[in-house]
Amino acid sequence: MAAASLKIPGFGGTAWAGLAFLYAPIVILIVFSFNSSKLITVWEGFSTDWYRAALDNDDLQRAAINSLIVGCGATFFSTLIALPTALAMHSRRKKFRSQQAVHSLIMLPLLIPEVVIAIASLSFFTAIGLSLDIGNILIAHIVFCIPFAYSPLHARLETIPPSLFEAASDLYAGPWLVFRHVTVPLLMPGIFSGAMLAFITSFDDFIITEMVAPPGAMTLPVYIYSMVRRGITPEINAISAILLALSMILVLSSYLINQKKTS
């Protein structure tokens, strides 16, 4: 009944086509990671040497770990900040006069070209003598991840009538209980969407990171850009494929953990 009336011809097809579009270059990357040629443009033959090279490369692993740490940290903290912000923006929608100003402030980091943020943050960090090693990168990332963590949350909240929260607190549920059992579950898709957007934004950042990174704290994009300038060898593809496999394992394992729990 419901499913039938929800189907719109062409939408499912578009979704799968969209997915294919997103994965097309990735498939090519993986194919070329098994290329024995030194450049990715020309196919010469099958080889797994590039995987060995990638796994033997200390600098690369250091960069990948730094990226994962920064990415997870930035995702966690930006979501942690975006959640109460979105709630505040939602709750007082009629009375909150400076709402528009705050909203603009949230979106502001998107507006300034990265290279400008990079220079300004570096100058500012230097001026206040901030030297937290990888923490410098983390702080810079949290700032520009906030709009990404916030937007899906905000969009989500807009669809929820405040009466829902009110109904819950009318049942004499304490604020923490309302938050834990009503707000968070209701917002989960928004939280998760925002967190994923924040993660891919942080994980991919080059310009700001290159500028604010203190000595010895290289991230994966910085490393990859340097490899690209040396001529793209399939080693980069191998790294990408390894990361992809890692993320797939992550998805699969969390899916399985969940299956086990529910069964």
Binding site: A2, I8, A15, P25, V102, I106, H154, S169
Partner: protein, 294 residues
């Protein structure tokens, strides 16, 4: 709303204000300050008030030293805005059906879809853009495929043009449209659409009259996440467009690189910021007026 009454809005906003106040607003002041200074001889700025940077945006000295009006940077700005607009539109067209499809999956599969949409983005953007070059070039997959089956005689010029740039931008920003739309659609009260369907409204009518208006917050949020970063993007135009037309991102990058003209780069960003903010506020006011009428 007891929960919110106990913790007033400003308390909830506190972490945001602290982080942004210290680590964003302060650097932002630096940027504004730079824009009113003179360029240092070796990059950086010298502490001396100057409006040169702002004048430079609309007027330029020619090689003989005469000052005259120059629309070059204005052109760059308009081109970037136009391209970002096209990109946003394409993202909505491709993103909405995808998000709709995701939101109508069974609940346990929805998070899986979120992951599926974002996993390609674990691979570096530069590398993904490169992969598109492999697909689109004259000896690339598409052309080889079409040539092999005799559909075309000459390779199609797919790379180093506006088409390639548009494709690259769509590719870089699609998830940033899909996920906000999805998160507003996910909780949609599908009984509404069913009710509409029961009232013999067609599927498409239901879509346009019920679903899309309800998904509007997501579409707006996604558009902001796509449009604004797309204005400043440059990788797609550099790699897929052949670097023949400068984007705002390139222009500003140039000032902090070869030109060593930080004040100009800062001024250009301040103006960009002012224009987009103004646009956003006008749109918000307009939206309020429309709401007020209903």
């Amino acid at each position: 709303m007891r929960f919110l009454k106990l913790s007033p809005a400003y308390l909830l906003l506190l972490p945001f204000f602290i982080i942004m106040g210290v680590f964003f607003v302060m650097p932002l002041f630096l940027i504004v300050a730079y824009s009113f200074m003179a360029a240092g001889p070796y990059g950086g700025v010298v502490h001396q008030f100057s409006l040169d940077a702002y004048l430079q945006i609309l007027f330029e000295k020619d090689f003989d030293g005469n000052l005259h009006f120059s629309p070059a940077y204005l052109e760059v700005f308009l081109r970037s805005v136009k391209l970002a607009g096209v990109c946003t539109l394409l993202c909505v067209l491709a993103g909405f059906p995808t998000a709709y499809h995701m939101a109508t999956r069974p609940p346990e599969k929805r998070n899986l879809w979120i992951m599926l949409v974002t996993i390609p983005f674990w691979t570096n953007l530069l590398i993904r853009t490169y992969a598109w070059m492999l697909v689109l070039r004259n000896e690339g997959l598409v052309n080889n495929f079409l040539l092999y089956f005799g559909i075309i005689k000459e390779p199609l010029p797919l790379l180093y043009n506006g088409f390639a740039v548009g494709l690259g931008l769509l590719y870089s920003y699609l998830p940033f449209m899909i996920l906000p739309i999805y998160s507003s659609l996910e909780r949609m009260d599908w009984r509404l659409t069913e009710a509409a369907a029961d009232l013999y409204a067609g599927r498409w009518q239901t879509l346009f009259r019920v679903t899309i208006p309800l998904a509007m917050p997501g579409i707006i949020a996604g558009s902001v996440l796509v449009f604004i970063p797309a204005i400043g993007s440059f990788l797609a135009s550099d790699l897929l467009g052949g670097g023949k037309q400068m984007m705002l991102g390139n222009l500003i990058q140039l000032q902090f690189g070869f030109s060593r003209n930080w004040p100009f780069g800062a001024a250009a960003s301040v103006i960009l910021m002012a224009i987009v903010m103004l646009g956003m506020m006008l749109m918000a006011r307009k939206a309020k007026d429309v709401k007020g009428l209903v």
